[in-house]
């Protein structure tokens, strides 16, 4: 934004330059301390006179002076500098950027505001930061950049949805995604109500693939800035949609210079799996299996001896015996992970052109192509997009803005984020459990599905060959998205502007899933061919009318914005399913037998009025007040209209006389705000009593039946969040050191919950508003410019904490137990975070029989032996019962941080970015199989350090191997053993660039760079990704890892070229 203004001013001023016939005198060049480039349009004035010149496009100037004159260099956005001429003939000036100047404006929703006058908590990320690390999606560029904004990379799949949480999670069932506003059009990700991005009817709900990212259609190169409205006072302007915060994405417009500017940006590189899981190799697995069989045998059969033969049939129960292929191992030692993951290319090209047409109009056009291949063969994401932005002054008073942004994405997916026993099975998980003794291919080169799919006998468990899954299952998601808007603004008075803005967001999905005959499910001998075709169209339009009054009189600045707006969304989905495909020649619905289909159409609408008032006195005392009213079709008839007020105040102490004398303090602002926002992501017809088909049959023929399927609730309303925010902004040494700190506390009430009601009503639950959740935390960000000049070094550090706690749930505050991928392992109860992990607590390992005798009786362990887990008697009643299950962790981190160091020297630039998350836990459900001690397939290598005897207790954390621990120590029950620390520390990116020193007038800039992403992650987590969240659409079951697409690391090479 700053640059834009700067360029606009430059243009107007340049008109004068050429006419100035310069006499002899002083010459020089004015450069910016930020980038050492020349600054065009700087006012160079002889102090005490009205005589002056402006710098030319290169920042050069020439002026006639006398030796006693003092030159005043001033330009918007920079600190004014005075230089005495004396006898100098050349005066070169480096202007310091005035970080907090009035010219720096940020987008605050329905308008912009000078940054110094902002009283809410708003973070802004500029275009340079967004493209600094070659970003695949807009959200990815926010990772670790903004205090209070957690961007979770839950999957490394190309096109995967990045999950953004602003100041924690307030909602249990209405979603925690922020509202996205793309060039004035509010878009909710709305991933829960629509299954098209992830839904497959034949796949169990808990094993659905995560939804693809609808915002992946936006090209990061086209983004001018991203603003995050964090506190309620900033977000209240979005009323019933602001409770989860607001992310405002503003795309580029022409910079309105005197000439057209071409810009070409590209990068290309390679991805590979970021880390491999440490699994057992064949020999370790065989030893472990032997242990598990022997221990089971000895614990189960009186008089059994470890020296009894252990081959198939020798001990009368397969679970006491070894597979034949383990006893006579043929030396096969397959590393399945190496077979699954490939190096994959990524490439991005973007060409844009911004130009004035005449001095009344400008336009910006951009075209981009992006393609990322996945590290799992057959997965990829591809994007084509265009952007056109036209601004025109039709008359002196009437301005027009037209924007058109179509894009196409093509996402090829595979079943990855699911366990080995899902249908279709998860590729990665199937690979992880596969025994290294199994050959991946047959002698003829075909994929080995012959030897019973890893079912080796001897108490092993089968899984499908992951290579066969890759080959047989295809899942293509095509998305066409367009955003179009037209705005007209009319200047009624110089201080009063009326704007009418109409826009639409159109999203068309087409998804085709096919599962071929060739894939054999585990031990199956026949395929289960199946196809599902889904398509959806969403049209979301809005019309906004606003009046903006802005007046500055003396010390008073006053700005008022009022508006009326309406928005409507219409969504339709069609699905068809077929099975019994005779062969795999035709992979669409028409190749099989159609057996099902559905078509659904839904709408919602919203009509709103808003008012915002900003008042500042001497730019010292700041006040903002907003109120919005929203009336939505989603709300019950008794509660259709909601009001969302907010107030915030700021006090810039540095403008006070007692501080203004301290020159070292360049900024000291205190902020306080309070606001109410809402979450309107309740079901479209949640307040209505819906009827559904309940068909019956007479005479063998199906007949129609219709029954009420939901209860009407005319009182149904949005979830309400009230937030207070206290902030301080502190700048020193001309803001070379700038600290921003905030404290916030949000209470979300009237949570949308399915509440139990009497079954006599015909229903067992009804959607009602009940319960409260609190989020509170601190945010800090610190920017220091350690060196300026030839060698520059700046550091950006941010750190945020958040504590999530359920305050109340319902009248009796009964906990909500939730099942994710593997039964009830989550609890939402008063006093703990939403969706906390729930289970037994491992206290240690029984070392000997006396230890067992002296410990509380474990009623859940039929026959424990030394080496089995000792569980904690949480309620202290002297025995281990289901009542001893408790909270064992949570997906919410204690704090998150990011630190970026940027260095510049001559044309070189280097940035190093670290990111960290502390105190989150992951519910590693893969432990149920890969860390279960049963040796029924491969295992995490940690089981090499298992308890073997009192004398050889391993690392003290891993129990003994036992094929049927359920009959003995029951070590595999839901417990803290499956909950792992997800804290991590990551070298998120490192990039080195060089800007060529070109003196060619036709080339403005040519920069080449190399960049590495995710090169290094330090974590104790055993799985691939310590931020994994398999069921990201449900707040009640967060943080599960039940097979995931691993994160990738990448090296890319790129070019930025402006001419």
């Amino acid at each position: 934004m700053k640059k834009q203004l700067l360029m606009m001013l430059t243009l107007t001023l340049l008109a004068f330059i050429s006419q100035d016939a310069l006499a002899q005198g002083v010459t020089g060049k004015v450069t910016s301390s930020e980038d050492n480039n020349g600054v065009p349009g700087v006012n160079v004035l002889i102090k005490g006179t009205t005589r002056g010149v402006v710098t030319d496009f290169e920042g050069n100037y020439k002026i006639d002076v006398s030796s006693g004159d003092v030159l005043v260099f001033s330009f918007v956005g920079f600190n004014t500098q005075e230089v005495a001429v004396n006898n100098q003939g050349v005066i070169n000036v480096v202007l310091e950027v005035d970080v907090q100047s009035l010219s720096e404006v940020i987008v605050v929703g329905y308008g912009t505001l000078a940054k110094v006058r902002v009283t809410g908590s708003v973070s802004s990320v500029s275009a340079e930061r967004i493209t600094e690390v070659p970003a695949l999606t807009a959200e990815e560029s926010l990772i670790g950049q903004v205090a209070g904004v957690q961007v979770l990379q839950t999957s490394g799949e190309p096109g995967a949805n990045a999950v953004i949480r602003i100041r924690g999670s307030g909602s249990i069932s209405a979603g925690n995604d922020p509202l996205y506003v793309v060039d004035g059009i509010p878009i909710s990700k709305n991933l829960t109500s629509v299954g098209i991005q992830g839904g497959l009817n034949r796949r169990a709900g808990r094993f659905q693939v995560p939804p693809a990212n609808p915002l992946a259609t936006i090209n990061p190169n086209d983004i001018q800035s991203i603003e995050v409205l964090k506190d309620a006072s900033a977000a209240a302007i979005y009323g019933s949609r602001g409770a989860n915060g607001v992310v405002i994405i503003t795309t580029k417009k022409s910079s309105n210079s005197n000439k057209g500017v071409f810009s070409f940006n590209m990068f290309a590189g390679q991805h590979s799996v970021a880390n491999k899981i440490d699994l057992m190799d064949a020999e370790q697995l065989i030893a472990y299996t032997r242990d598990a069989r022997n221990n089971n045998y000895l614990s189960s059969v009186p008089g059994a001896s470890i020296s009894d033969p252990i081959g198939p049939g020798d001990r009368g129960n397969a679970n006491y015996e070894m597979p034949e292929s383990y006893i006579n191992w043929d030396g096969t030692n397959t590393d399945w992970q190496d077979l699954l993951f490939q190096n994959a290319g990524v490439q991005s090209y973007n060409l844009s052109y911004g130009s004035p047409v005449n001095n009344k109009s400008t336009y910006y056009v951009s075209g981009g192509y992006f393609k990322q291949d996945g590290i799992i063969e057959g997965t990829s994401f591809e994007r084509f997009n265009l952007l056109m932005n036209l601004n025109s002054e039709l008359t002196d008073k009437l301005k027009l803005n037209l924007r058109l942004a179509p894009s196409v994405t093509n996402n090829n997916r595979k079943p990855v984020n699911s366990p080995y026993f899902a249908r279709p099975p998860g590729i990665v998980y199937s690979g992880l459990v596969h025994s290294p003794t199994v050959k991946p291919y047959n002698a003829d080169g075909s994929i080995n599905q012959l030897d019973n799919q890893s079912y080796l006998g001897g108490g092993t468990t089968s899984a499908s060959n992951p290579l066969a899954i890759i080959e047989a299952v295809s899942d293509n998601l095509f998305q066409f998205q367009t955003q179009a808007s037209l705005g007209l603004s009319y200047e009624i008075l110089p201080e009063l502007t009326f704007t009418t803005f109409g826009g639409a967001y159109i999203n068309i999905y087409d998804r085709n899933f096919y599962r071929a005959n060739t894939l054999l499910y585990r031990t199956a001998t026949e395929g289960e061919p199946y196809a599902q075709s889904s398509s959806s169209t969403e049209v979301n339009w809005l019309w906004e009318n606003t009046l903006n009054y802005e007046k500055e009189v003396g010390d008073h600045y006053f700005n008022a914005l009022g508006g009326l707006m309406m928005q409507k969304d219409v969504l339709s989905i069609t699905q068809v399913e077929a099975d019994n495909f005779p062969d795999d020649l035709v992979k669409t619905i028409s190749g099989g037998q159609v057996f099902g289909g559905t078509s659904v159409r839904e709408e919602w609408s919203l009509i709103s009025a808003l008012l915002r008032v900003n008042y500042t006195f001497k730019d010292k005392y700041l006040f903002t007040g907003t109120i919005r009213s929203d009336k939505s079709s989603r709300f019950g008839s008794n509660n259709q209209t909601g009001y969302f007020p907010s107030f915030s105040v700021g006090w810039r102490l540095n403008e006070e006389s007692f501080l203004s004398s301290i020159e070292k303090i360049s900024e000291l602002k205190l902020r306080a705000s309070w606001g109410q926002t809402g979450n309107f992501e309740i079901p479209n017809y949640g307040s209505v009593g819906l009827l559904s088909p309940a068909n019956y049959n007479f005479n063998g023929q199906e007949i129609n039946g219709i029954i009420q399927s939901t209860t009407p609730n005319p009182d149904l309303t949005w979830e309400k969040s009230s937030q207070i925010d206290l902030g301080v902004e502190f700048g020193m040494f001309n803001n070379r050191l700038f600290l921003l700190a905030d404290y916030y506390r949000t209470v979300t009430s009237d949570l949308l919950l399915n509440v139990s009601i009497t079954s006599v009503s015909g229903f067992s639950t009804a959607l009602q508003n009940l319960g409260e959740v609190e989020n509170k935390g601190f945010e800090f960000s610190l920017l220091t410019r350690n060196f300026v000049g030839d060698f520059t070094w700046e550091t950006e550090l941010n750190l945020s904490t958040n504590k999530n706690e359920v305050l109340s749930l319902n009248e009796k505050n009964e906990p909500i137990f939730s099942s994710g991928g593997a039964g009830v392992r989550h609890i939402t109860r008063v006093g703990d975070p939403i969706g906390s992990y729930f289970g037994y607590v491992v206290e240690g390992i029984y070392q000997n029989d006396a230890d067992i005798t002296n410990s509380p009786v474990d009623t859940q362990a039929p026959d424990p032996s030394p080496g089995d887990f000792k569980f904690k008697d949480v309620d202290g009643d002297g025995q281990i019962t289901p009542d001893d299950r408790t909270v064992t962790g949570s997906y919410f981190p204690d704090f998150t941080w990011g630190i970026t160091n940027r260095f510049g020297y001559k044309g070189f630039d280097l940035s190093i970015f670290f990111q960290g998350v502390e105190g989150n836990e992951i519910l590693n459900l893969t432990s149920r199989h890969l860390k279960n001690g049963e040796a029924n397939f491969n295992s995490y290598a940690v089981f090499n350090d298992r308890w073997k005897s009192e004398a050889d207790p391993g690392n003290g954390k891993i129990p003994r191997a036992d094929r049927q621990t359920g009959n003995h120590g029951n070590n595999n029950r839901p417990s803290s053993f499956q909950v792992e620390d997800g804290s991590f520390f990551r070298l998120r990116s490192i990039s080195l660039g060089y800007t060529l020193p070109l003196k060619n007038a036709s080339i403005d800039k040519l920069r080449i760079y190399v960049s590495g992403n995710n090169l290094f992650t330090a974590t104790d987590y055993l799985g691939y990704n310590p931020e994994v969240n398999n069921i990201s659409t449900s707040s009640l079951t967060p943080g599960e890892d039940y097979g995931t697409y691993p994160l990738t690391k990448s090296f890319v090479f790129g070019v930025n070229f402006n001419f």
Binding site: F498, Y685, L690, G705, I707, S756, S759, V760, S764, K812
Partner: protein, 461 residues
């Protein structure tokens, strides 16, 4: 200019918005815009029938609560997971959180609530009088069928006769008062319904009368029951199927002896039954998914007299597994079929059939030659000799025995044991590890209902 623009915008916006946020569902029918036409009510009552297929009603919960609870069947060796829930019901160890009793309560009231909506709404709608009368009759019958089972199972239940309105305070009504209400409702239903219906499976006069007789017997009104039963026998045209095996199998559904059946059809449309899978011993099915649940007890097995033709149709005691090995195990055979997909069978559940009418008539007539005549009608078909007062045992014992073997696994047993007052004794005889003192005549009321309705009291016996 300013004022013009503002008033223009406000004018447009306000005029557009009066209906702008009033959006009715598009892909679902809406309760407030339904129940207006004759078709609406036909579809509405059809849904009440459909709800009989629920797991909480005839689909599953009823056979656990009216057969496994009694002495006829038990769960068998598998007692983990869902089977544990069944085992608890079988052994009287269930607590108030038991999924099956909760499902039965919820499922039965779902049927009742839908009937209540129909009865409430049809009142003021002007449609063809015959159709209206028929629909009211069906709603009253189906509601009564549910209330009869709830009253037998739980005893003290809320007797909701109109659509539930949030805020309504529910009170528990004892079973006697429920039966009194049912006598009136079923009398109306019998009047309203037709004797036969082109759509086979709809409730008929015979169905309403059979349930009415059962309620009257439960109340102890044998005289009243006799009158109703005589009417069924003389006017509604049912006949016994002969041989007994002609009653069973998909091909024999809705036969001349059938009075009311819950209709199931296969085809992956959610209307198939799971009885075949639930009851068949493991691996005895094309689909490979037999669970051997609802396993006939040895007492049940032994209660068949030698040469009773009903035995082979009712239960098996051995089967040949996939490996060709003969396995000894009891299992229910009345619902055998061979569904192409698991839990998706065509096989219906027979709620009432004509032989029950004879046996109820015998019960109404009591210990008398006429009573034995009715019992012998059923015995003759089973290939067994007549009995009379000289046959060992009391009339009640002989009648109850006949009911057991004739109507085995058809969800009559628990109510019969209660009506004859021998529940504890019979359960203990069949399953000696269940002490007489453990046998409760009423199921526990689901905990969630007690939590929601603070004035409810739990069954204590």
């Amino acid at each position: 200019m300013k004022k013009i623009i503002i008033s223009l915008i406000i004018g447009i916006t306000v005029s557009a918005c009066s209906d702008f946020t009033e959006l009715a569902p598009i892909s679902n029918r809406n309760e407030s815009a339904f129940y207006n036409t004759a078709d609406d009510f036909i579809f509405g009552i059809n849904a009440s029938y459909a709800m009989l297929q629920q797991d909480g009603v005839y689909g599953r919960a009823y056979w656990t609560m009216f057969e496994m609870r009694a002495d006829n069947t038990d769960q068998g060796p598998d007692q983990t997971g869902l089977a544990r829930v069944f085992t608890d019901i079988n052994q009287f160890t269930e607590d108030a959180l038991n999924e099956q009793i909760d499902a039965a309560w919820t499922g039965s009231y779902r049927v009742i609530a839908n009937c209540n909506v129909i009865l409430d709404r049809i009142e003021s709608i002007e449609i063809d009088a015959t159709l209206k009368s028929q629909i009211i009759g069906e709603a009253l019958f189906l509601r009564s069928l549910m209330y009869y089972h709830l009253a037998v199972a739980f005893g003290n239940i809320p007797l909701q006769l109109t659509a539930f309105v949030p805020g309504d305070v529910l009170v528990q009504t004892n079973a006697d008062a429920v039966y009194t209400q049912l006598v009136g409702d079923l009398t109306t239903a019998e009047t309203n319904l037709s004797a036969a219906n082109a759509e086979v499976g709809r409730a008929t006069k015979g169905a309403a009368a059979t349930l009415l007789a059962k309620v009257l017997l439960t109340q102890g009104d044998k005289g009243g029951a006799a009158i109703v039963l005589e009417r069924i026998i003389s006017t509604y045209g049912y006949s016994l199927m002969d041989p007994y095996s002609d009653l069973w199998g998909v091909a024999n559904e809705n036969n001349g002896e059938s009075i009311f059946e819950v209709q199931f059809i296969s085809g992956g449309i959610g209307q198939g039954s799971a009885f075949t899978n639930d009851f068949s011993p493991s691996a005895d099915l094309q689909t490979g998914e037999g669970f051997g649940r609802n396993r006939p007890t040895v007492t049940m097995q032994n209660s068949y007299e030698v040469n009773d033709l009903r035995f082979a149709s009712s239960m098996g005691d051995t089967y040949v597994d996939g490996g060709g090995v003969t396995v000894t195990a009891n299992y229910v055979r009345k619902f055998e079929s061979n569904p192409p997909n698991g839990n998706d069978s065509d096989i219906n559940f027979v709620v009432f059939r004509y032989s029950d009418v004879f046996l109820m008539y015998a019960e109404a007539l009591g210990d008398s030659p006429a009573g034995y005549v009715e019992i012998n009608k059923v015995r003759t078909r089973a290939g067994l000799p007549d009995i009379d007062g000289a046959t060992p045992g009391t009339f009640d014992e002989k009648l109850l025995h006949e009911r057991q073997v004739e109507l085995a696994f058809e969800n009559h047993r628990w109510a019969d044991l209660l009506r004859f007052g021998v529940a504890a004794q019979k359960v203990n005889e069949a399953e000696p590890f269940i002490p007489v003192s453990a046998v409760r005549t009423l199921f526990l009321i689901p905990q969630r209902e007690l939590d929601i309705n603070s004035n409810f009291t739990q069954n204590s016996n």
